[in-house]
Subunit: 420 residues, 2 copies
């Protein structure tokens, strides 16, 4: 007698996750929180296993010639592992969005209608490098009652494999099915692409990583996508801007963490303000080592500015460089943002409430700021406790996404025989 | 000197709509309501023009050999025109979702954070037959501050063209730009397909029509889609069901309006209940002229039942026919729904609160019912005033969609120089 062993396919894994999501969705908050603690403790106890696996990824990364920044994102340490284990305990402390009754009313015929938050079901997470995403995303998924299918980057496959194995071992001792966490153990692009169209078994895809990864998912997926996008953010300094506020906001947005998505990439400046405050602005550029690429007018006004290319306007520098565009009014500023912005975070500095209202009304972005740095577009800065990512799409969730972004709504109707 | 006239392209129309959406988004509710009244009155005054155009579509439809149901959906009359004109005035009465502050808080550093509902921007509406959608969708879009790009079915092109021309003429006398309504005057499939990927200028696509149209949009669009889907709805009659409630709910859900999406297509029945209530059930089938296709057990028990095919389980009958599946417990019922349901509306009839809770908890659908007919999944039945469609997707909006489904959220931050 031969035993037929079905090969582990992406589809069979997604199906297992879907099945597990059913019972997971019915568990109490307490049971889910206990499971998160069990997983956290187990990761803590098995740091060595994770670091050994990570060492393999690091050696392969060295061979592949990855740059320092990339290697740093890939590298784990005891402290980093303890940090993401602690992250699971922190997620356990957050309010459980699932099961919350959002609204409830009774029709004239006596039918009771309630809208209840429920888990989305199965989340497909497609991500690059950082192995901490493996743990963070799993924690957020389980807490909100969702199963998760993880497809990490090839460069972190040993770390991710080890982490998931441990998480599943830990879950086996809890009421959460270990099938609720699925790891696509493959470096094939085909495996990722299979996830794109698995509408029957996966409810949402969340890509986390560079622009290329995100657009590959957005352009090819039939599964709905939660798009966490690139931030090409602008600071517009209006003619009525306070000079000190303007320079401090701009410097903060540009230099605090240049590589993050809510950092400023272009300074749009009103010609009158520039004439009046050129010296102070140039001093700030010099003091903070900011490289300047400018439009024709900016190049004329600012000695050290080099001409900006189309690419400078359209892309993130992710460095201490900035593009400078000189405009003659707020409409021109809004037009520039319309052309080049990525609908992430956009700021105006002005003492005119009218101009501020015009700017925040007209600019189409997840977050619009008046007299503050764009750096506040961030789940932790806003007090969300945890963040799945920052959505630059308009449907479902926009801006920093907390746990509720991983839920949908269900109409629950209770009657006594009502017909229409 | 030759004058270069740019041809009217789908892209140029989408761009015009996008430009118009900017100023439209800033208009007050009152101004938008006034515009809706101006359009309604103008349509009323020009019924004859619309009916003449409709006559052309009807003649073409006759030549093409469309069936009666189709011709009925296509046909306009003075009464129907007055009805959709009145629909615009009704939409004017609804609350304007746009501009509503959903939440507001102040960070420790004094930065004020508000989440404000704002229009999505530009809605791409792709629909078949019924010319009333042209007016209904435009009214909902404008009321919520959105521009709209309309792509109707070829068979209604004369009616739609005439209606849009009148709406734009009317808007020219209001503060709403007539560019906010764009009509893709083409019967080419390519024109529709161009809309699928116009992410830069269109914020959401809403397909309204048959399953083929919807899946073409879902499978090919990179623009986010609000999926309004097919309803393959089930009534599960549990062993603890009250016989009178069960039969009355089933008959209502099946026969009230068999062609609509919230009608029942399959009756799942517990074997014990069936044994005890076979006669009453068969009488109801007979009384209402219901054709029965059954699983093996059902065919054995119910004399007039023919064997059901896979297609009977998987598709909408849209007629007085029903598929009958006999099960031994609620889990088996849920499993059948998981396999064949379309996540629209699903009902259980039972006197057991426990079984009801299990069913409504486990079944994954926009609406789940305990002891009531599925026919209540409907914007007007629930008191929404107007409905863009019934969403069977989980992201953004689920179930009957009112005006808020056409909005997104914007974080509006007001500070006094806050940096991080």
């Amino acid at each position: 007698m031969t035993k037929v062993v079905e090969p582990v396919s992406v589809k069979s894994q997604a199906k297992l996750a879907q099945k597990a999501s059913k019972s997971l969705g019915m568990l109490s908050t307490q049971v889910k929180n206990e499971a998160l603690h069990v997983v956290a403790d187990y990761l803590d106890q098995n740091v060595a296993t994770i670091l050994t696996a990570n060492e393999q990824d690091l050696q392969n990364g060295k061979k592949a010639g990855y740059d320092d920044a990339y290697m740093d994102r890939l590298a784990l340490s005891e402290a980093r592992v303890k940090e993401f284990a602690q992250g699971l305990r922190d997620v356990a402390k957050l309010d459980d969005p699932s099961g919350e009754t959002l609204d409830e009313w009774t029709l004239e015929n006596g039918l009771n209608v309630a809208t209840v938050r429920v888990p989305l079901g199965v989340i497909g997470m497609i991500y690059e490098a950082r192995p901490n995403v493996t743990v963070d995303a799993t924690g957020l998924a389980l807490k909100s009652g969702n199963a998760i299918v993880l497809k990490g980057g090839s460069s972190a496959i040993h770390s991710n494999r080890a982490i998931v194995k441990l998480m599943k071992e830990a879950l086996a001792n809890t009421e959460v099915s270990s099938d609720a966490v699925q790891f696509i153990d493959s470096t094939d692009r085909e495996a990722t692409e299979e996830l794109f169209t698995m509408k029957e078994h996966i409810d949402v895809l969340i890509p986390r990583g560079g622009g290329k990864l995100i657009s590959a998912v957005v352009n090819n997926a039939t599964v709905p996508v939660l798009e966490t996008g690139v931030g090409n953010c602008h600071i517009y300094v209006d003619k009525d801007a306070d000079a000190q506020k303007a320079i401090s906001i701009f410097v903060n947005a540009k230099t605090d963490r240049p590589a993050v998505c809510n950092a400023a990439e272009t300074l749009i400046v009103h010609s009158e303000w520039l004439s009046a405050n050129k010296e102070a602005l140039v001093s700030a550029f010099n003091e903070h080592g900011i490289g300047v690429y400018g439009c024709e007018k900016a190049v004329k006004e600012i000695e050290r500015a080099e001409p900006a290319t189309e690419d400078h306007w359209a892309s993130e520098f992710l460095s201490l460089d900035i593009a400078v565009k000189v405009v003659n009014d707020v409409s021109e500023a809004v037009e520039h943002i319309d052309n080049y912005g990525t609908k992430h975070s956009e700021a105006i500095v002005t003492e005119s409430k009218e101009t501020a209202a015009r700017f925040t009304g007209l600019v189409d972005a997840a977050a619009v700021y008046h007299n503050a740095s764009t750096r506040f577009t961030d789940g932790s800065a806003l007090g969300f406790g945890a963040e799945i990512g920052i959505s630059t799409q308009k449907l479902h969730a926009r801006g920093p996404m907390g746990l509720p972004a991983l839920t949908t709504v269900k109409y629950v109707m209770s009657g006594s025989g009502q017909i229409r």
